[in-house]
């Protein structure tokens, strides 16, 4: 890591116990613009990620009258999550657990195949920082210009002042839009946009926009690579996940040493000495968004965005040497090439097979669970206090709190069948039906209803101990049914 150590001045007696500097000052990075394959991939992925993030709340999805028409919506007040054709209830958050497992293993798989693809191309910190750098470059110029302008800080001209103002204004607008898009996921987007513009949106929306504006502005405008190097745990995790077969952005030192200028290298070669393809032009360092030298080998600070590959390739092209002096490679192949063997790349190996299999299995389980999930459900809670009640004629009554869940988008008539003690009678408090033997109730769409159900066993059939009781609820229209079991006990 290329950091300048700053030694604070301490009194003499404290210097004895001094273990080095307390902090290092920040060395600003000025990444240079670059063209090439990986830069194009990064632009495309940036456009895709930002496009999805900013525009997804406006995608509509028809769920019928009265239901939200937003394709992706986190409806916190009503505790519902909508994702196109899927509607999840709070008790179904385990789908998110499955989703997180799949996401984690997908990251492992990506890492086993191509290193820190997440860090270099997809991480929000990378995407927004890249966007902010693009704005900075557009307004203040490329690396050298920015360095010069920063060095002249003391003598600020009007034009420079205008540049800085413009840059921060655009940054803040992007940051504000980022926060604005965030809140749209939690409310009907077109309605909320109207409210936001007319200052009639809830205070919470403005607060969240302010928070996300601040974090985006600070993290992408100022913290930048500091987030990756100091704050994020993921580089540490990814470092532990990589193996000898994983392709990482690598400087191929097998293409010779020493690294020296083109002219000197030619002289050395003329003298019969060795010289590398690297001409020490420092272009890879100039374009690096974290300001490191990839030639030092794999390192924590390298987010593996591949921009140094593009920079080096353009230089190799100019001096007429093979491109990909820096490229996606691994140590195994460096050693194989040094030994004169052809490089091999092994994408299919136990690690990647296991990861893929896990993704497939967890994905299949989730899909199966989602497809076969019941849209009618019943939960039963036996009264605990009192557990059982003896009535004046000696019969025994148990009470149950029964919650019915209708996850469909329309009202339904549900019949309740109780299979418990012989000759018992069933009474639903407050919802007497015409057919006393088979109580029926109506549940509104997308709702739950709590019922109090009393089951009374006649005295001559007093159960001696607890006997099982089953509550079966049936949608009399669709025939869909759900079952819950509990116990009937004597006092």
């Amino acid at each position: 890591m290329t950091l300048t150590m700053k030694q604070p001045v301490l009194p003499l007696d404290e210097q004895v116990e001094d273990y080095g500097p307390l902090y290092v000052s920040h060395k600003k990075v000025y990444p240079q613009s670059v063209r090439g394959t990986f830069r194009r991939i990064k632009w495309a992925l940036m456009a895709f990620c930002l496009g999805v993030y900013y525009l997804l709340p406006f995608v509509r999805w028809n769920r019928g009258l009265g239901a939200p028409s937003q394709a992706v919506l986190v409806d916190l007040p009503n505790s519902r999550f909508y994702f196109f054709f899927i509607e999840l209830w709070p008790q179904e958050v385990y789908y998110f657990t499955g989703l997180l497992i799949v996401a984690a293993i997908t990251l492992f798989l990506m890492n086993a195949l191509g290193g820190r693809i997440w860090c270099g191309y997809l991480c929000p910190q990378t995407v927004w920082t890249d966007l902010f750098y693009a704005v900075e470059r557009l307004i203040e110029g490329d690396r050298r210009e920015r360095m010069r302008k920063d060095a002249e800080r003391g003598t600020m001209k009007l034009q420079r002042f205008a540049e800085i103002t413009l840059k921060h204004s655009i940054w803040l607008m992007i940051a504000w839009w980022t926060g604005g898009a965030w809140v749209l996921y939690f409310n009907d987007a077109p309605t909320l946009v109207k409210q936001l513009v007319t200052f009639q949106a809830p205070m919470l929306a403005y607060i969240w926009i302010a928070i996300l504006t601040a974090t985006t502005y600070l993290l992408a405008g100022f913290m930048r690579e500091q987030v990756c190097v100091y704050m994020c745990p993921w580089p540490r995790i990814q470092a532990a996940l990589t193996d000898e077969w994983a392709l990482n952005v690598t400087y191929k030192y097998d293409r010779g040493e020493k690294r020296t200028s083109l002219k000197k290298a030619n002289e050395l070669r003329a003298l019969g000495e060795t010289a590398g393809d690297c001409i020490d032009c420092y272009q890879c360092v100039a374009v690096c968004p974290t300001g490191i030298d990839i030639r030092d080998g794999a390192q924590l600070d390298c987010i593996q965005c591949g921009l140094c590959i593009d920079a080096c390739d353009s230089v190799m092209k100019k001096i007429g040497r093979e491109p990909r002096l820096i490229g996606y490679d691994n140590d195994i192949n460096i050693h194989r090439r040094q030994a004169g063997k052809p490089p091999i790349f092994r994408a299919v190996r136990p690690r990647t097979v296991v990861y893929s299999a896990l993704i497939a299995v967890v994905g299949a389980i989730m899909l199966y669970a989602l497809m076969t999930r019941s849209l009618l459900d019943v939960n039963v809670l036996h009264d605990r206090n009192p557990v059982a009640v003896r009535l004046s004629d000696g019969s025994i009554r148990n009470a149950y709190t029964v919650r019915l869940l209708n996850k469909r988008g329309f009202d339904r008539v549900i019949a309740i069948d109780v299979d418990g003690p012989v000759n018992s009678t069933v009474h639903v408090v407050g919802a007497d039906s015409v057919t006393q033997d088979r109580p029926m109730i109506v549940i509104g769409r997308d709702q739950t209803t709590e019922l109090r159900i009393l089951v009374t066993a006649p005295s001559e059939l007093n159960p001696e101990k607890s006997i099982p009781i089953r509550f079966r609820v049936t949608d009399i229209g669709l025939g869909e049914a759900a079952l819950a079991t509990d116990h009937f006990v004597a006092p």
């Binding site: 890591m1 950091l3 150590m5 030694q7 210097q15 004895v16 001094d18 273990y19 080095g20 500097p21 307390l22 902090y23 290092v24 000052s25 920040h26 913290m223 500091q226 100091y230 009264d383 605990r384 206090n385 009192p386 009640v389 003896r390 009535l391 004046s392 004629d393 000696g394 009554r397 009470a399 009474h427 408090v429 407050g430 919802a431 209803t449 709590e450 109090r452 009393l454 005295s459």
Partner: protein, 291 residues
């Protein structure tokens, strides 16, 4: 680097802490400056808490802080908010005729939720949190009611109580037949056995059923009825069923007849507002024993 630090890690070029664990050394990588500044800022920020929030204990109280915050006031605000949110619904509950509430699922749910909370705060000390009662305190889940189990009767009992001293309270007394010398000890034993026989319980040897019947007719039937089925106007319990407020064994019955029983239920009309009492009545009625 400071002169003491000749212990530089060769690979990274970073100073080590100088500690050595079987040849393994710890790099002393310095924090970035913004990090340490954030740390100092947090310390400064922490002092702010002392100033704006309650922080320092004093002899009899504590510093209140500039914001004047207290958790107690927070709860009061939340309760007030709850009342405001429920406001319209509680008004609707107050206006709805008692008999209609159970037919409206929304009103029933509100009444039960409200009733359960109020029951826990006010009624549970005697009747138990599940209204299962105890000796001398009726079980409100069953179908045996001293003062009647219809919605109106339950509400009346809650409003004015029994023997509570309220002008509209239920009145009616179980006399102390033994203590006041109305009946002699052998007569009490006989009538106690007669009462047991009314609900099919065993009687002791040598008990004179005819005598018991006569004592019952002369002394008890005026309130409990000729057949012992009780009278809810007077709060006289039904003696023929399976439910006994104080117990059905001979000794308990002798005790009851000798000294009388006059349990008290307080009047709640002065302490709870009408719609709350209504909710409470619906809740008790919905426990299962309501008529």
């Amino acid at each position: 680097m400071a002169e003491h630090n000749d212990d530089i890690d060769k690979v990274s070029g970073t100073a080590t802490t100088g500690h050595d664990w079987d040849g393994i050394k710890e790099l002393n990588t310095p924090l970035p400056r913004w990090w340490i500044m954030t740390f100092y800022a947090c310390i400064v920020w922490a002092f702010g808490y002392w100033v704006v929030y309650p922080a320092w204990p004093l002899i009899s109280s504590n510093t209140t802080g500039l914001f004047g915050y207290s958790t107690r006031a927070d709860v009061a605000v939340q309760l007030a908010n709850l009342e405001r949110i429920r406001g319209d619904k509680m008004v609707a509950l107050g206006k709805a005729p008692l008999a209609e509430i159970e037919k409206d699922p929304a009103l029933l749910a509100l009444a039960r939720a409200r009733g359960k909370t109020v029951f826990g705060d006010n009624c549970a000390p005697c009747h138990g949190s599940g209204a299962a009662g105890a000796k001398g305190y009726p079980n409100l889940n069953d179908d045996d009611w001293l003062w009647g189990g219809t919605l109106d009767q339950i509400m009346q009992t809650i409003e004015f109580g029994a023997r509570s001293g309220h002008a509209k309270a239920h009145e009616g007394a179980m006399l102390a037949f033994g203590r006041d010398g109305i009946l002699k000890r052998p007569e009490i034993v006989t009538v106690a056995n007669y009462v047991r026989s009314l609900s099919g319980l065993s009687t002791s040897a040598g008990y004179d059923a005819a005598a018991g019947g006569k004592i019952f007719a002369d002394n008890c039937a005026s309130c409990h009825g000729d057949a012992g089925r009780g009278n809810q106007e007077l709060g006289a319990p039904n003696l023929t069923d399976k439910i006994w407020l104080y117990g059905s064994d001979e000794a308990t019955l002798i005790e009851t007849i000798t000294n009388g029983r006059n349990g008290v239920m307080p009047a709640w009309s002065d302490r709870l507002d009408p719609s709350t009492i209504k909710a409470l009545a619906v809740y008790v009625h919905s426990l299962g024993g309501g008529k």
